[in-house]
Subunit: 452 residues, 2 copies
Amino acid sequence: MTSSAGPGSHTYQAPKGTRDFYPSDLAVRRHIESAWRSASIDFGFDEVEGPMFEHLELYTAKSGDGIVNELFSFRRAGGENDYALRPEFTPTLARMVAARAGSLPVPVKWFAIPNMFRAERPQRGRLREFVQWNVDVCGVEGAAHDVDVIACAVLALERLGLRPTDVEVRISHRVAIARMLAALGVADEKTGDAMTLLDRRDKLKPEEFAERAAALGLSADAVARFDTAARATQRLSEPLAALAAKIGVPEAEFAALDEVRAAAERAGILEWCTVDVGIVRGLAYYTGTVFEVHEVSGAERAVAGGGRYDGLVELFGGPKMPACGFGMGDVVLANVLRDRGLLPADGATLMPRPDAFVVSAGGVSAGGDAAEALIPALLMRLRRAGLHARTTTKTTKNVGKLLGDAGKARARFAVILGAELADGNVAVKDLDAGTQSVVPLGELESSMRTRP
Amino acid sequence: MTSSAGPGSHTYQAPKGTRDFYPSDLAVRRHIESAWRSASIDFGFDEVEGPMFEHLELYTAKSGDGIVNELFSFRRAGGENDYALRPEFTPTLARMVAARAGSLPVPVKWFAIPNMFRAERPQRGRLREFVQWNVDVCGVEGAAHDVDVIACAVLALERLGLRPTDVEVRISHRVAIARMLAALGVADEKTGDAMTLLDRRDKLKPEEFAERAAALGLSADAVARFDTAARATQRLSEPLAALAAKIGVPEAEFAALDEVRAAAERAGILEWCTVDVGIVRGLAYYTGTVFEVHEVSGAERAVAGGGRYDGLVELFGGPKMPACGFGMGDVVLANVLRDRGLLPADGATLMPRPDAFVVSAGGVSAGGDAAEALIPALLMRLRRAGLHARTTTKTTKNVGKLLGDAGKARARFAVILGAELADGNVAVKDLDAGTQSVVPLGELESSMRTRP
């Protein structure tokens, strides 16, 4: 937890799996959050937030006691209630919708960018604290609304510079898969087991996978077709008849997926989407469309995951209410962006640029005031006018050195209080254009506003 | 924790002292945070963040084990480390500065808007989870830098609509107060006790206060002057000679405070400031200027509090490094803003306004497509262009009703896909101006951008 940093002192570390965001680190995070937020707002989702921790039973109610080991849970000294840092936002969202289900205008279209906590072993793409964009629509059914949330994710990815050649939305549909399984000969009561097996396709050895498929009661031929299905992917733009033929089931079994295809086509996001029969999503509460966003090579964990969960609001005390949504974490996404060269090597270039860097070159005003004495009031004036204004703590009057500092600060303009001050003027250097002009002190704000 | 909401179901509540932010609630919080963030950036502070929880010892190191009861602390199942949800940001900041003290450019000017957690009994102005704006400057000494952080707070308050008639910055200075106490006859080793007593002036009965003042070793006359000092306030713009005369100590004892006055005058924030000898700040680590922002009537808890703490970075393993900063919570501030009529009755009016509300009045395109089928692609096009675009789930073709929905959504423009669609046009109604025009479908984005 601590390490020695010299006699009598020690340095403190951030807890394992958490992050310190220095200014250039936070600029990267804000860049990602800004794409998330603007896409959400442009799609008509309203932002919400909830508590950072919830009653523990909010999580065990949905996921069983097994989840407790994955949570940071605690009890206040002398208190009676068990709490847990939130590991996901959906239970909070469902609780909030349930509490006001009678009065909220439908559809409820909400987004959130909450911090999340999981007591896992930290590894690439997984931390103990991360930020997760959540987008949900409640109260409406149908593929068009499933595609609405998917398209919102796509817009954010586009704004971050990603293209369909970088990431893809892998889509499946639990109703379609259940029908496909039935057509393959899986009995109704084995549907859940078969979906769990599909979900684990990449984690099991081929022979183990085949063995478990046979245990579903499938014939040898059906086991082979089940294996084909588990690995079956195609562009969502391709006819589902091709998928059906490959697996050897009637095309009609994929009708639910075809509705998603049609809606994605209408919304203009077809090129981002693939069908992936092996996408099931581990969580038991999904009831229809399910999807994950992946880097195309499959090298990273999922960038996002979600789907339709029509029973969830009811589970948290609300009415029966259809719902669909997804979560997208910042950690894997940042890895993908970095791998694709879509994040600057130095996050500082994403930080807000100063408008003005005000320095004294030793000027004296007509009234006899030294430039230094005028700077605090001038800075406050610029800041009150909504300009980002900085100065230096250096006492040098060397204009070259001062301009160098202004450049390092990435300022747009250097404001130099020099000899012109005696006439009530200052020199303003446009650091991007390299040009310099003399501006009356009283017109400084407007001179910097009107320039590009 | 839960309450019955019908047979077989129950509703879940947010933990006591925490908040659910529905869209109109979060809009209010974002309004406040936006003033904080813009003031910080305009002042040249860079944003940072840290973990939501820290090693428990980060807090006990500074505040002793006594603080543990005020914290939400926990240990991961099977883990060895004790953690605590952060009750304040300063230890995280000091830890982060200490870790990179050798490489950070000085002055370090940082701000943060972190969530904070305190295991207190919730009451007006105090919750268990809140947001606290933190502004700090490290590595520089002097009243000008103390005033830099105070002026940043003032700018945010101004942007929220507050005036010096609403709130005031009550300022004192520990060095000045220590010298005043010495002049009153308080022995050096009693200075800490005397400051604690000043800090408690409003919590003790007059006779108890006098008794404890006498216990500091003061004469009857000095007790009376100490009492006067504890309640002494004046505008910071007034000469400190007046304050010194009232208390009966030499004016020179207030020299440190006079530097703050001069710096506040130079920065143009003098009218916001008062001297308040009773402002000491409870925390032991302050070393110079101390201040609190209060609603002028004193009816609420402090809106903000801070000061200079030159020893703190060293305490967390860094070098000796002067520092000054403050924290401003969202809860008391929102109460003050609400009391002064500076928050809208309905927070929804602070939510982002849609640019376009797109509806079908039953139009059919020249190609024979029904308007409904065109809406998803049109919405995506507008959103890709950076416009906030919504539609309705209603199937009515009654334009009056649809316009009513657009108005309720606070949209700037209603886009109506009606009879004009056959000619490739749509009707665009400016809902603020009440005017309507016909626009070619292909020019929709630019038509909405160019209007105010």
